[in-house]
């Protein structure tokens, strides 16, 4: 038994005192002290799958990228098209280096013709900022784009689960969709009218809220960006309305059940999106960093591939464990956990392409025990309907 420690130099979100008052266990993550759990991971996963969970994700970055060259710069930096994204919409994609490795994965929102909001991972925010500044200097002589890091001025909250939409609808006033033409003319605009990967603005408790229909749990819901002095009040409104506080422990299980990658595990600067099986978030017309490598891999394949594994029982494969076929090591676990939703163990692993077909029986070395695992295409869990 080893105790968790929090480092004095870690950053704290505006909700830090709220988490402590709620009895959360705080742990260091990506340079921040964050809640890993409140009541318990299993109860929190169930809240998100069956009702509504609430996450403080303020540790993730908010980079505001504006100016006449903003779309053109992002077209070079991102595997998803920025210039082709309509105002009011959002997109998930990758920030790749010239070798096709993933510096970070991100969701970005088009706020107006020449304004974007980009969400990097907490631990990658400094690297992403530096990379963007260098690329701006290299491609546009430093001109025509202003990159502003608004992470410390704002908070980010995720409301996720089958009841998330009705909770936010009930609390939100003065809603306006970000798209210039509303999708439902004649009806009073409401957050529930947002399609997945679109955004709007409104007020909760009289405070301005940016509302994206996005998330990282495999459930319906929203991510809300608000002023850092408004976060606590809005969090309390949402918990009063029935949303259950959930920590990073539940978040990691939920994303793994949904087959979503975590940078540092399924993605890294030495892993490409094609190896990880996320080619659908990589555009085919090139023009971005790493396109040569990714186009080649898409045509000719890769030596290793990310696969899903399912195992009976409750002893979980964990990151770094060997995956074997016929006694030979053929891969490594990237992430693994007991899945309370599926009541079995699940993992994502990189294996030699020859062993990547679905329904292949492999073994995982769980601290010296050989456990039988069956390959499967993620997601392991898909929400009903």
């Amino acid at each position: 038994m080893a105790a968790d420690t929090t480092a004095a130099e870690n950053l704290r979100t505006a909700l830090y005192d709220t988490h402590v008052a709620l009895g959360a266990r705080m742990v260091p993550f990506g340079g921040w002290d964050m809640p890993v759990q409140y009541e318990g991971v299993i109860a929190e996963v169930a809240a998100v799958r069956n009702a509504a969970g609430l996450f403080d994700v303020s540790h993730m970055g908010r980079l505001h990228i504006g100016g006449p060259n903003a779309a053109a710069l992002l077209d070079i930096l991102l595997t998803g098209s920025a210039s082709g994204l309509r105002v009011g919409r959002a997109r998930y994609c990758f920030i790749c280096n010239e070798r096709g490795g993933v510096i970070d994965d991100t969701i970005f929102y088009r706020l107006s013709e020449d304004e974007f909001l980009l969400i990097p991972n907490a631990g990658n925010r400094p690297a992403v900022s530096l990379w963007f500044d260098r690329q701006l200097a290299q491609h546009f002589d430093g001109r025509g784009v202003h990159i502003t890091d608004r992470t410390m001025l704002t908070g980010l909250i995720a409301v996720q689960g089958p009841k998330a939409v009705e909770i936010v609808d009930r609390l939100c006033e003065d809603f306006t969709p970000g798209a210039r033409r509303a999708s439902n003319p004649g009806r009073t605009p409401a957050p529930s009218q947002l399609r997945p990967f679109t955004w709007g603005r409104g007020h909760i408790d009289g405070r301005r809220v940016f509302i994206g229909r996005t998330g990282y749990t495999g459930e319906d819901g929203f991510e809300l960006a608000v002023g850092s002095t408004d976060v606590v009040a809005i969090w309390n409104k949402l918990t009063d309305a029935g949303a259950v506080p959930c920590g990073l422990g539940a978040r990691d299980v939920l994303r793994l059940e949904a087959g979503l990658p975590l940078h540092g595990h399924e993605l890294s600067d030495t892993i490409t999106p094609i190896e990880a099986g996320f080619g659908r978030f990589v555009r085919r017309d090139g023009g971005y960093n790493g396109a040569d490598v990714l186009d080649h891999q898409r045509v000719y394949g890769t030596e290793r591939r990310l696969i899903g594994l399912t195992l009976p029982g409750r002893s979980a494969p964990r990151a770094g464990y060997d995956v074997l076929a016929d006694g030979e090591v053929v891969g490594t676990v990237a992430s693994g956990s007991y899945s309370p939703t599926l009541e079995q163990c699940i993992a994502m692993a990189f294996v030699d392409a020859a062993h990547a077909e679905p329904d292949t029986v492999l073994t995982v070395d769980i601290r010296g025990r050989r456990a039988e695992a069956t390959t499967a295409d993620p997601p392991f869990y898909q929400r009903p309907g």
Partner: protein
């Protein structure tokens, strides 16, 4: 919170003497340990009849998020394991000092108990963590 009737290791296991003459103890983990682990989903214990050693690894405990080694607070032979934990590992969370016990051990060196902490010293030790 930590019962006075038993002894504690710095690795957060406890040993409760059941029958001093026979040298049998019950072994489990503390409230603090289960709280640190979070929801316990799996407990790997030695077989009945297996030897355990003072502060040697006796098994593993897994929560959703982590796996930790379990250390035996005493040397001896396992005479019984808590069979309920196979189907109800959450007993370790809900009742770590009672129904969540793990092993019954016949001690080979009862003097090892003297090296363990009493409840007061263990509580003091937790205060310094």
């Amino acid at each position: 919170m930590n019962p006075e009737d038993r002894k504690y290791s710095r690795e957060h296991e406890w040993a409760l003497v059941e029958d001093a003459a026979a040298g049998t103890v019950l072994v489990g983990i503390t409230h603090y340990a289960q709280d640190q682990l979070g929801d316990v989903v799996y407990v790997e214990l030695p077989d009945t009849g297996a030897p355990v050693g003072h502060m040697a690894k006796m098994g593993e405990i897994e929560s959703v998020k982590a796996v930790s080694d379990l250390f035996s607070p005493v040397s001896g032979e396992v005479t019984e394991i808590n069979g309920r934990l196979a189907q109800e590992p959450e007993l370790v969370n809900t009742d770590p000092f009672g129904d969540g016990w793990m092993l019954r051990v016949r001690m080979t060196d009862p003097a090892e108990l003297e090296a363990l902490l009493d409840a007061g010293s263990y509580t003091e030790y937790l205060g310094g963590l």
